[in-house]
Amino acid sequence: MAYNSSANTPKTVRAIIIGNPNTGKSAIFNSLTRGYQEVGNYPGVTVERKTGKIEINGTKFIIEDLPGLYSLSPYAEEEKITRELILNAKNYDLIINIVDSTNLERNLYLTTELMELKIPLLIVLNMSDMAKKRGIHVEDKQLSKLLNVPVIKAVGNKGEGIDELKKTLSKYIHNPQIFIPNDVNYGHELELIVEELTNEIYNLLPENEKTKSRWFSIKLLEKDPTTKKDIIKLLEPSQIQAFEKIVTNAIKRIEEHEKEDSIVTITQRRYGYVSGIIRQTVRFYGESIQNITNQIDNIVCNKIAGPVILICIVSFLFFAVFNITQEWQWIPTPIGWFSPVELFEFSFEFLGHKINFLADSAPVLHSLLKDGVISGVGAVLSFVPLIFVLFFAISYLEDTGYVARIAFILDRLMRIFGLQGRSILALLISGGIGAGGCAVPGILATRTIQQKRDKILTILIVPFMSCGAKLPVYAVLISAFFKDYKTPVMLSLWGISWTVALLSAFILSNTIFKGEYTPFVLELPPYHLPVIRSVLRQTWGRTWQYIKKAGTLILAVNIVMWALIYTPITSNTLKEIQPNTPPSIENSIAGYIGKKLELITRPIGFNWKINVALLGGIAAKEVIIGTLGTVYSVETLKEGSTSLQKILSNSKEWNPILAYTLMIFVMLYAPCSATLITIWRETNSIKFPLLSFLFSTAVAYLGALIVFQSCNLLSFGT
């Protein structure tokens, strides 16, 4: 164990915050670590790591807020990782267990599991104001006596009880033993079996693991497969057979005695212990006030009103987010009003102009800085307002408890496609409404999906939605070729993106993702109003993490794309990189690749110029129109769109069928680099961005092939 009572030198104490989901852990964490907080990831896993530092009476504390969990028998992916972090006692000295005072039975159940770890423990009875309103009175002193650990009443979102918590924490340095909990009592006959098994396990275990003997024994009696594997790893190969026999015998004894599965018996006894504790420490007085959550749900989950409210809330959220970040010009500057995204764009354009003096003296450097670095950094930062506001909106909605209701209401519908209710949020954010969106925050929104299979499926189909960067491509092509059919063409694109997304999910869930079904268990937490300050802090932490992690990679991809387009394939074309003359893309590496690709893209009608634009689109979809403009040598970028439309509609190479095929391809093909990198970050595996890249491109090619060939066949001769 990591705590050092012997050393006199003050050291840093590490504490972890553990509790059920929806117990207000984050509120306690925020009130406790007001000054400093950092959001990151545990090395090698995607579980979010929130760390804060405080100093109490000269002692430094590092506090970590772990994701919520119901018990130490993990169910979802995130819980597995959290459990491992808890079991690795080298990581920390002290557990702060947050207990929801309005839901004591289930919350204290987790507490009993933590007590068995024999690691210093402290209990915070959170939401004690709500408990009071509901007529629940907890005798904290009595509870503390029974469990033998400090118990503190608190109201996290109001900061009540935090001083008391700090005072108690400070005792840890000199009195760590006051935090060592009692054993949970399993009742007379069972205790004999537990103790016997504990002794046997104790003898088998290596020295540094012996303190966990009792905890291990109980988990073994619960037939927990993970614990069994963990112990076998600690044993000598010669001991394994004896170990298996000991465990089987103990389980058999319990099952013969109780005439019941030992998993049930152990769980039942633990709940029995909790009931005993509650009987001795809790008084219920008066009628509890009427259940507001139930009344809200009577409307929100109603058969008719429910779906209507859901559509209203989600579309309000969506339009608010995209208007705040992109449409409404609400930021005053000396030269006028801007929206946040415009402000970023303008700043980078300005920066690009600032380095114009380099254009004559060092054209290559100028181009690298302007088209590679500045536009790269711009690509990263232009996502920041969107990600920040979306993260805020999603965290807020999640904290109110409504996201769980979305999952509840839409589960039946989305299950048809092998998805779940929460997938819909990600799809809408990515552009599912048809008025813009972005796959990057869409993928980040899949964080709320617990089941790994459903999460991956959602991630794979999210890029099929028409994000805001694909819309300009549609706009140019539609006004060049479908001037009189704007609405039906847009509607058909919207319909196709949903059909392809849902159909792919259906096919994937019945083929490569088949047989991984995990039953769906979802708590519908009581509604409550989130504390805006705490949501903001968390949102900023997450946004900053995105800037740091994804930002550097997106920048690198941008520079690589720049190099592809600007590096001439033959040395004598080097002088073509001149100011005011567009670089000859035809002779660049990108042009070369584009021409080679014609071999594959001929059946869908794409020439090398389109191929180069599409290659650029892998860096960022915004690039497509610009690159098309450059290769079709449009004079000035200012009038880019209008003149490009004219050039395309007059060009012999183009016709409406090609234009429609290209729109379908752009909608479906490989996600942009920012999206791919986000997928990599979120799944923590290079496998999934690669799969996404190949899968999307294959689907796009197939779709384009069907459209192009069948249209040409139908219109043969015209």
């Binding site: 119901y70 028998s73 309005t102 049930v264 769980t267 995990t518 039953p519």
Partner: protein
């Protein structure tokens, strides 16, 4: 309500009723959890769905599935096909409720 004979041999057991067969407003007591992945059974037990626990089906989702049950003072949503694994004993209700 479909009632199926238990597969167990020997003793005379009462007919098995599953949670998935009940409808909105029904109440009952959990008897046991049979079948399904072991992690799922363990999870339900950890959430307090142990034998003898009272429950109430609060509502169905708008499309009839999943169902929301109230147990140990909180609400839990389960799909009907997963709730099928939960063996229950319905309690009789006074008709005055509705």
């Amino acid at each position: 309500m479909t009632i199926s004979k238990p597969r167990g041999t020997g003793k005379e057991e009462p007919t098995t009723i599953r949670l998935s067969e009940l409808s909105e407003g029904d109440t009952g007591i959990i008897l046991s959890i049979k079948g399904g992945p072991i992690q799922y059974r363990k999870r339900l037990l950890d959430l307090g769905l142990i034998p003898g626990t009272q429950f109430k089906i609060v509502r169905e989702a708008p499309l009839g599935d999943p169902i929301e049950i109230e147990v140990k003072g909180y609400s839990l949503a389960l799909r009907r096909k997963d709730a099928w694994h939960i063996i229950v004993q319905p309690t009789l209700q006074k008709p005055s409720g509705q």
